[in-house]
Amino acid sequence: MNYTNCGNFKCSYEKDAALFQTLFSRLCIGVFLVMLVALPFLMDHYFIYILNMILIAVIGAVGLNILTGFTGLISLGQGAFMAVGAFGAGYLSSQVGLPFFLAIPAAGVIAALVGAFFGIPSLRLKGLYLSIATLAAQFIIEFIIIRAEPITGGVQGLSIDYARFFGIPINDDFRFYWLALPLAVTMTLLATNIVRSKIGRAFLSVRDNYIAAEAMGINLFHYKLTAFAISSFYAGVAGSLWAYYTTIVTVENFTIMVSIQYLSMIIIGGLGSILGSIFGATFLIVLPEALQFISNMAAGQFPAVSQIVGALKEMAFGLVIILFLLFEPEGLARRWRLIKAYWKLWPFSY
């Protein structure tokens, strides 16, 4: 079982830095992966659709968490960077004719460059001021996309073909799952490794005390821009996945509301935690679906209730964030740790 004798002792640096600290955690993640692979065979397309949305959201949220949670730079531009990725992938696949496995990373790189550019003010601006600067990025990018008609198709957007893998079009939820799942797993693993390496430690020091970090020889400009670039790369990949999913890219998919939603995901999940990003993304995707489900159930018995639930769905979003900030400011990730700790000692906790 998950026993580590009276504390978690390590005899070597390799063990201390290991990705999976115990055999048990290795087993758990293995079972979880097997479950992820098995799930689509057991579910109908609606639930696979929800899984797909979660996978896309996980990529975007993990990216934002690297920037906001780990480096402490608040960004309200995640939606716009996703738009850059989506339009990048759309343009590259429809005009240049790149296949999806080149277009998606390329779109990520484009988004990373744009993100790094809009990250430049972060050297001088902090906190609220920086969030307003990134808010400007959101509006500037939306404005440019509407105007740059030859590339983005303007307000009508781009219509692209489904991604093709050896001639098989990825045109339904089941097939898309096999595109989104490996990407999400790889990107999450990558993020976990980034934050436990030199770069990640630099990010943490920038967040905790940037003066001390600079005194220690950390190049603030370099690391802040890196954080923006990595985060936007993730946003770009998430955006391009979304583009391949719906195959129609319009700027209306990536409004300020999307940015706010991603910010809420990492707040609810837990700032500065990769696991938290996954929890947050899952939670915020499932919440409206669950409310809709309740509304449908209620509509059968009490037609009037369904209208209230419709409006309630909007309120629930705000309510959940407020409740989390009040009662669990460190997010679902902390709740998860508490649950784990509880079971570790059960039934003899003190």
Binding site: L42, Y46, M53, T246, Q292, A299, G310, A311, E314
Partner: protein, 380 residues
Amino acid sequence: MKKMIVFALGLLLVSQGVFAATVKIGVLMDESGGTGDVGKPYGEGIKDAVNWFNDNGGINGDKIEMIYVDYAYKIPQAISAYKQFKRQKVVAVHGWGTGDTEAMVKFVTEDKIPFFSASYSQHLTEPDKAPYNFIVGPTYGDQTSAALKYIKEHGKDKTVAFLYNDSGFGRAPFFPHGEEKARELAVKLVDTQVIGLKDLDATSQLLNMKKADPEYALIQQTYMATSTILKDSAKLGLKTQYIGLNWTLGEKLVELVGDAAEGFMGTSGFAFWDNEEVKGIQFLKELNQKYHPGITSRPVNYIQGFSSMYVLLSGLRLADKDYSGENLKKVYESMKDFDTMGLTAPVTFTPESHAGVSAMKIYRIEKGKIKPITDYIYAE
């Protein structure tokens, strides 16, 4: 664990299954989001159309079951609702906005489910791009054409300005269609101004427009910005005659603007509640007396919703119990001069065009009532 619960819920849903002869229709509407003010009455029109059909023999004896979802004008929620519809095996869907309808064009095409919507966007009417999308109403482009034709006939200077908001909805009628049509009809486009959908002040834009002094100005907005424009224009004493496209003209505008709305003109493919000479309006008044005795007046959006759903369901009736997507498409495309009791011009779908209505009237607000001042104007 969460996934297990989701899975269990899924099983529960599936096990409810399908029984009895019902025809399922999915309806996606915005009641609580950004366009809720017009979405809610539109949805009521849809509901009444379904109720009326169910009380009058259903679809050749089959009962209509409507699955109604308020998606709050959010595209991901619209898609998720659509996936639900698909699972519940709906035969057709009635949707709402431009962004979400366009986001689902590929899905709908793949699944072969006829999809009606309230977005009067040109490219939803082209079957080579969107073979399963239909609209009942004149496209924004057609409305612009009709308004420009009116200007050509009645104008003295024949100058026009475009007032719009910077979104897909706002730009659709004018760029490039409106510009080209104006050139073709020799109506001179002298100015364009951007006014946000929710702006409460348009003074600076209107002052700029005053310099060009257009005889007419076309407005593509919703009630809110339109009321701002009309109020500010009255304040500044501008002489320009405004002509709004369909989302600007309604009873709500009269309510918001009051006297300054007097003389405002608009294009509409749909009749208004005050047009008692129209057979369909009489019909709706009786219908409302029966279903909603307290209600004495309905906004135009209600009539839009009713007409659109009326056409959708009538098509299902014509399909003679073969509700496969291919057959429904064929049935709709064979609808020619279908009579909506005068609520719209006769509806015609062809394999080349899925814009059901290509004719509209121009209306004017006179003493707070919306009256038609022209007969049907055809766009082409």
